[in-house]
């Protein structure tokens, strides 16, 4: 597979390390009332869709960017690649 890195252009997927669903960005609040349930869902439950999937790839043999890649899990077609940091900020993560 080839991942079109937003900063570096097309790179072989073998340069990257895969983590999983980009929902891993949405780490719950540790002090929330339902923190135990929220962390269980965050840590363990997955949508695991057959189709478009937003997922985290890390450019370990490259610039060490974490990327959010939107890839179809049936065709493997990649439709979008973003810097995970930008996605995280857009989802409201900051400090």
């Amino acid at each position: 597979m080839i991942i079109n890195h937003p900063l570096l252009g097309p790179r072989d997927a073998a340069e990257f390390v895969y983590l999983g669903d980009a929902a891993l960005i949405d780490r719950p609040d540790w002090q929330a009332a339902e923190a135990a349930e929220a962390f269980h869902a965050y840590g363990y439950l997955r949508d695991n869709p057959a189709g478009a999937h937003q997922e985290l790839w890390y450019h370990e043999q490259g610039d060490r960017s974490w990327l959010v890649v939107t890839r179809d899990t049936v065709s493997h077609e990649i439709t979008q690649v973003e810097l995970a940091r930008d996605v995280a900020r857009a989802r409201g993560r900051s400090r």
Partner: protein
């Protein structure tokens, strides 16, 4: 029809005209006591044991394609019970014992071949972990045997002892491990279940569940609605897709695992061998092909195919331990979809929806588990209580914090 050498002789002399279908091909009835979704090894085994051990016959197995088209038909055929943790080892050892009597039990020769499995180790820490595991196997009534490098050199002289990047320090044998003709397992269970009245319905895809007030009353399929008192999902790599129809999220990701076979070769490998410092395991089939595999591709996938980096990685692992296979040719590669769970161990459990049961999360170890999975799932469905060797295979174990993590990799499925 009972199969035997005599039957073959008689058919051979009369033109092989008397053979009948190995399983019936009925249309679905409107209602069953139990509907099993998934005509793979585990689903068919579940139906077989429900009929044979628990006397339940009003059962349908629904298969979206042809039976055995999932992982039972695309694995590397290895059986073993070399696990370590109490939540696993007794289960897999029971499975191995069931394999040992399976063919006589269902009157079908699945070529269970206890040619041994060897896990090589390459460091002291690895040896320590294998000793711990071997002893756990003994405690659970299984067999295990440690061999040092000299013993291995005598037994398997073709391994690379002298020029290896990660020298072989020894290995853990399970002599009772081995291989099975994988397709025949599906066919044997189908035959055994079908002859006991189970309806095996192919080309019947489940498109939805009939759930009312927290109770599952049946399924929608491409061949119409089917009502059932209990619905048992058993769809391996499709677990995420199917359970989403019931509104459930699972502690599972679907990943692709490739497998490989070479052209037929005169016998070179006595048993199953696995590399401890890279991704490679191999055995030789009764037809002569080297059947081998390695690591999963590592990304979520429902496509039954993988990519080149893993193909090359696996071949590198093979050459690293047995450089005599360099001129053997890879004949065919394929991919299967693995239901990778969050701790690498499976589930055989009820769900929070009354009447809906789930069996899955087998990662890439489901084939060896087929008999025990079928028997334990049948036990759960028939008695609504887990089988004693499957009590820890629960869906709520992550919420409780009771993990069954053999490899210690944590909640990242592609590392198991």
């Amino acid at each position: 029809m009972r199969y035997s050498a005599f039957k073959i002789l008689r058919e051979g002399l009369t033109g092989n005209k008397g053979w009948t279908p190995v399983w019936r091909d009925p249309d679905p009835k409107p209602e069953y006591d139990i509907v099993i979704i998934g005509g793979g090894g585990h689903g068919l085994a579940t139906a077989y044991y429900l009929a044979k051990e628990f006397g339940l016959r009003n059962i349908a197995v629904l298969e979206k394609g042809w039976i055995g088209s999932g992982n039972v038909g695309r694995n590397t055929t290895i059986i073993r019970s070399n696990y370590m943790l109490p939540g696993n080892e007794p289960f897999y050892e029971m499975s191995l014992k069931l394999w040992e009597g399976l063919e006589q039990d269902f009157n079908y020769n699945a070529m269970v071949s206890q040619r041994s499995i060897l896990n090589l180790f390459h460091s002291d820490a690895q040896r320590d972990a294998f000793v711990r595991r071997a002893n756990a196997m003994f405690l659970a009534g299984a067999d295990a045997e440690l061999a040092d490098a000299d013993q291995l050199r005598a037994e398997l002289p073709f391994l690379d002892f002298d020029n290896a990047r990660f020298p072989i320090k020894g290995g853990l044998f399970q002599r009772r491990g081995g291989t099975v003709r994988h397709d025949a397992v599906a066919w044997g269970y189908a035959r055994g279940a079908g002859s006991r009245g189970v309806d095996i319905i192919q080309n019947c895809e489940v498109t939805g569940f009939d759930i009312e007030n927290g109770k599952c009353r049946g399924v929608e399929t491409t061949r119409g609605a089917i009502r059932a008192r209990k619905v048992a999902v058993c769809v391996a790599g499709s677990s995420g897709r199917v359970m989403a129809l019931a509104g459930m999220r699972l502690p599972i990701e679907s990943h692709v695992l490739q497998a490989f076979v070479t052209e037929g070769l005169k016998p070179v490998l006595p048993g199953v061998i696995t590399f401890g410092a890279g991704h490679f395991y191999v055995s030789q089939s009764d037809k002569g092909g080297l059947v081998f595999g390695g690591d999963i591709d590592g990304y979520n996938s429902y496509a039954q195919r993988g990519n080149l980096p893993v193909v090359e990685d696996v071949a590198e692992g093979g050459m690293a331990i047995m450089p005599m296979i360099g001129r053997a040719r890879l004949l065919r590669s394929w991919g299967g979809i693995m239901d990778m769970s969050m701790d690498g161990s499976p589930f055989i459990d009820r769900t929070h929806i009354d009447g809906l049961y789930f069996n899955g999360g087998w990662c890439y170890g489901g084939f060896k588990a087929t008999p025990a999975s079928g028997l334990c799932y049948a036990h759960l469905l028939a008695k609504d209580a887990p089988h004693p060797v499957a009590t820890e295979m629960r869906l709520d174990r992550f919420a409780r914090g009771h993990l069954i993590d053999e490899k210690g990799m944590g909640n990242q499925p592609n590392l198991h």
